[in-house]
């Protein structure tokens, strides 16, 4: 009887740390994802110009990170997450290109009502006047269009460095390229944006 109790106790002691470890990892990941999800959504939305598609892409990236990299050190999650998201965005653009080709072949074009509408309907949490809100939205719209017109790699480098605040090394991991390439893409992106936005901004 005592022997059975001993075996049971050993078994419980083995399982408990494992469960506690999983729970701790889950809490850490929850905290990480909660901190990154909103910015990731806007990141994806600027890249694909569609909120629903962006939501799907962010959800897929979160699931893939949890499935494949939850065991990785927490410090590596940010570049890994953005790498997964970038890959999802690239795949999305490839699918869109194929879809457009098929649509052209069948003589159909996209519905103008499906075009991206960046004007949000929510009240302003910062308490600004409607004029100030409109001004800020228009400025963001101009910026989004300018970023959206950049080549994909320049757009990725600019958004990761500027919006997410990743350093060159982390951006390189997220983009799957060298540090030198990140610097080149970022520099070109800034140059192009400055030319485009210089008239609007000061």
């Amino acid at each position: 009887m005592n022997a059975y109790a001993g075996i049971f106790a050993v078994s419980c002691n083995r399982e408990q740390p494992e469960e506690a470890k999983t729970l701790q990892r889950e809490q850490q990941l929850n905290q990480f994802l909660a901190g990154v999800e909103r910015r990731a959504l806007r990141f994806a939305e600027i890249a694909v110009r569609d909120r629903d598609e962006a939501l799907d892409l962010v959800q897929d990236a979160m699931i893939k990170l949890a499935r494949n990299y939850a065991g990785q050190p927490e410090a590596e999650w940010t570049p890994l997450f953005y790498r997964i998201l970038q890959n999802g965005i690239r795949d999305w653009h490839r699918r869109q290109m194929v879809r457009k080709r098929v649509m052209v072949w069948f003589g159909r074009t996209s519905d103008p009502e499906d075009d991206y509408d960046p004007v949000a309907q929510a009240p302003d949490p910062m308490g600004r006047t409607p004029d100030e809100q409109i001004e800020a939205r228009e400025a963001m719209q101009t910026l989004e269009h300018a970023i959206g017109d950049l080549p994909a790699r320049q757009r990725e480098a600019f958004m990761l460095r500027t919006f997410e605040g990743l350093d060159v090394a982390a951006t390189a991991v997220a983009m799957g390229c060298s540090d030198g390439s990140v610097k080149t893409h970022y520099s070109r992106a800034v140059h192009t944006l400055r030319e485009k936005l210089g008239e609007h901004w000061q």
């Binding site: 999983t22 909103r38 939501l55």
Partner: protein
């Protein structure tokens, strides 16, 4: 006179606008993000030892089904529409001239067979 926009100003202004747009996200969008996050966290729960085994169950089932299918297929009775090699050889022997001679002396061979079957003590 407007001050020319330098790289740092551009980055600062762009980030401020981006941060502002993040804050403007509506409740419905935030709710969808939350649901997506909870779905992702289920993957961590499923990532334990039991969960890892559970993940292989469909693949294992498929592999087992494939093995069973192959075994059943190999074990099924096969109908031979052509004669076996052994049958053809027998047929050739039957048609050979030697065999026809043997048929003519059938009584003789039958007697030899009977004689061999009888013990020596009976012959003597």
């Amino acid at each position: 006179m407007k001050k020319p926009l330098d790289d740092k100003d551009l980055a600062v202004q762009a980030k401020a606008l981006f941060d502002d747009s993040v804050e403007q996200l509506d409740a419905a969008t935030l709710s969808r993000l939350n649901r997506g996050r909870q779905k992702a966290l289920q993957e961590v729960r499923a990532g334990g030892p039991a969960g890892q085994w559970a993940r292989w169950v469909p693949a294992g089932g498929l592999a087992a089904a494939a093995v069973v299918a192959v075994v059943v297929w190999q074990g099924a009775p096969v109908e031979h529409s052509v004669p076996e090699a052994g049958s053809a050889a027998d047929f050739e022997i039957m048609l050979s001239e030697d065999s026809l001679d043997m048929l003519e002396d059938l009584e003789f061979y039958s007697w030899i067979d009977t004689a061999n079957a009888v013990p020596d003590s009976d012959v003597g």
